[in-house]
């Protein structure tokens, strides 16, 4: 495999993981809760592309809509589901000021609930769906061929990151979110509505999950009711090695993990490839050994959001 092709693949997977880590990091920033259900939001977005059926072959539903409409519909659905989980699973607990372990367990319950609903409606057999089929074509520049889908993934990620930075720096709601991430009580004392800030964080995390659904299915074409789990794990690990609570760190951490995973897959000797994830997560433990505060946080003083 050509070096440039390999790098594009690596950066593409890194981009997916970065978006997942960003979605998890946004919620963690304001709520100090790791949302284990984030991966299942991705699954919901992917399954919304096909007609709900227990049959082995699911005809495309939203997946057959024109591109822009497809993106808007999936984003709307996943964002609404994310907001619903906040409203019905997390807000009542937050109001009672439960400890963070209870919130964490609640997010596990939401995760399994979403998975079980998908399992019930679509059965556990993997299904296939093809969206943006033209993206699987190769882009050829000077003898180097890379799939369009990777280029698009990287571009979409850059656009979303730029949009996020603009929101957090230029929009009052974004600045309020950064304030709440730094000192939630003080933000409330200045009139910032806790429910609103957290709902916005969940909305953003839902929209980011929707983007990952679409990008990931464009790449693989496969639906599975547990497809979000490895993505979410990659996202958690990304946020942890990036430095818990730093959005920039989360993005870089997710990116690093995706790149490392692709490179290991390509460069390991054939016999060792099945051990890729063992090596990768072993490496993560090693990284945390050396830098428990995360790779991209300067002495724990890094920007949280």
């Amino acid at each position: 495999m050509n070096t440039i092709q390999l790098l594009v693949d690596a950066v593409s997977l890194g981009s997916d993981f970065a978006l997942v880590a960003l979605g998890i990091g946004v919620v963690f920033g304001v709520m100090r809760m790791i949302n284990f259900a984030h991966g299942d939001l991705i699954t919901i977005g992917a399954y919304a592309l096909v007609v709900p059926t227990a049959a082995d072959l699911a005809p495309p539903f939203i997946g057959a809509w024109p591109g822009l409409l497809l993106v808007l519909a999936i984003t709307a659905i996943v964002t609404l589901v994310a907001l619903a989980t906040e409203r019905f699973a997390f807000r009542p607990l937050r109001r009672r000021e439960v400890n963070s372990a209870t919130l964490l367990i609640s997010s596990f319950a939401v995760s399994y609930l979403l998975q079980s609903i998908v399992l019930f409606v679509h059965t556990g057999r993997p299904k296939s769906v093809s969206i943006f089929a033209s993206l699987t074509q190769q882009l050829e520049v000077g003898g180097i061929r890379v799939a369009w889908v990777h280029v698009v993934t990287i571009l979409v990620t850059l656009v979303l990151l730029a949009a996020m930075v603009t929101f957090l720096r230029r929009v009052r709601a974004g600045v309020e979110m950064r304030a709440a991430a730094e000192d939630f009580m003080m933000a409330r004392l200045l009139g910032v509505r806790a429910d609103r800030v957290i709902a916005i964080a969940f909305g953003i995390s839902g929209a980011l999950a929707a983007a990952v659904s679409i990008l990931f299915v464009s790449k693989t074409g496969v639906l599975d009711f547990r497809m979000g789990v490895p993505l979410a794990i990659a996202g958690f690990v990304g946020t942890v090695i990036g430095g818990m609570g730093s959005l920039v760190g989360a993005v870089l951490g997710g990116f690093f993990l995706g790149v490392a995973s692709t490179l290991l897959q390509a460069l390991l000797p054939e016999d060792l490839r099945p051990a890729r994830d063992a090596l990768l997560y072993g490496l993560v433990i090693l990284v945390l050994w050396v830098r428990p505060q995360g790779l991209f946080v300067a002495g724990g003083a890094g920007e949280r959001i």
Binding site: A179, L189, G191
Partner: protein
């Protein structure tokens, strides 16, 4: 009556931090809560602002109960607390700190005259408008904390230990500012450890110890009673 506390009891877990506490703040008045560490002053302020909840008793602001309201509801009603330790957003710029506080009044754009007035009051904030608030000195941070609270245009401004950790020149500035705030019609509720400063600033004083009010009255009454400081602070009179 602007603010009234009625037989408040506040607990931390099972330990009562404040017991049978009643107080009033009238329109445009400066009231000081004085007492040693652990007397329950900060706890009381946090309860008024809605961060903590009383286990019994009532707090009324303009004759409506505040008990059960969230901190942001209470801020919207016109009570602004500068908590102990300032709690500025260190990673945000001075401008962004003020932007967060401007939300209740429709943002910095709509609140431009108010912002201008406040920046005139604290010129150093104008000079360091785009700096990270965490890089300000302690005195500048205290000014930012008060400026931020004022930007919500409160009818009652509560400041917990306005002079704590400040250099003397800043203490003077902060005290002068607080007096000017009162002149603009805002009532002030202050927490002080120093009886001398409280007497200089306040109209009325509540002296607290171990979660109770042990003496109250007009500030000038306390002037003649410097004995109180020794009585209630156990010999280690402060400044």
């Amino acid at each position: 009556m602007l603010l009234e506390g009625d037989r408040l009891e506040i607990r931390y877990g099972s330990v009562p931090a404040v017991r049978d506490l009643s107080f009033v703040v009238e329109q445009g008045e400066i009231v000081c809560f004085v007492g040693p560490n652990g007397a329950g002053k900060s706890t009381t302020m946090m309860t008024i602002a809605g961060v903590l909840r009383p286990t019994s008793g009532d707090i009324r602001f303009e004759d409506r109960s505040l008990v059960g309201l969230t901190a942001e509801d209470i801020a919207a009603k016109g009570i602004s607390l500068v908590p102990e330790g300032r709690h500025i957003f260190g990673r945000l710029s001075v401008r962004e700190n003020l932007l967060v506080a401007s939300g209740l009044r429709g943002g910095l754009g709509r609140g431009a005259p108010a912002l201008d007035r406040i920046l005139t009051l604290f010129p150093v904030l104008r000079a360091r408008f785009e700096s990270a608030a965490g890089n300000l000195s302690g005195g500048e941070q205290q000014q930012l904390a008060i400026a931020r609270a004022l930007l919500t245009t409160p009818r009652l401004l509560i400041v917990d230990e306005p002079s704590l950790g400040l250099a003397p020149k800043f203490v003077e500035l902060v005290m002068e500012t607080l007096k000017s705030v009162r002149l603009a019609g805002t009532a002030l509720l202050l927490v002080e450890q120093s009886m001398r400063r409280a007497i200089a600033l306040a109209d009325r004083i509540y002296l607290m110890r171990s979660g109770r009010v042990v003496a109250e009255g007009p500030a000038k009454d306390f002037e003649a009673r410097t004995d109180l400081e020794h009585v209630y602070f156990g010999g280690t009179a402060r400044r």
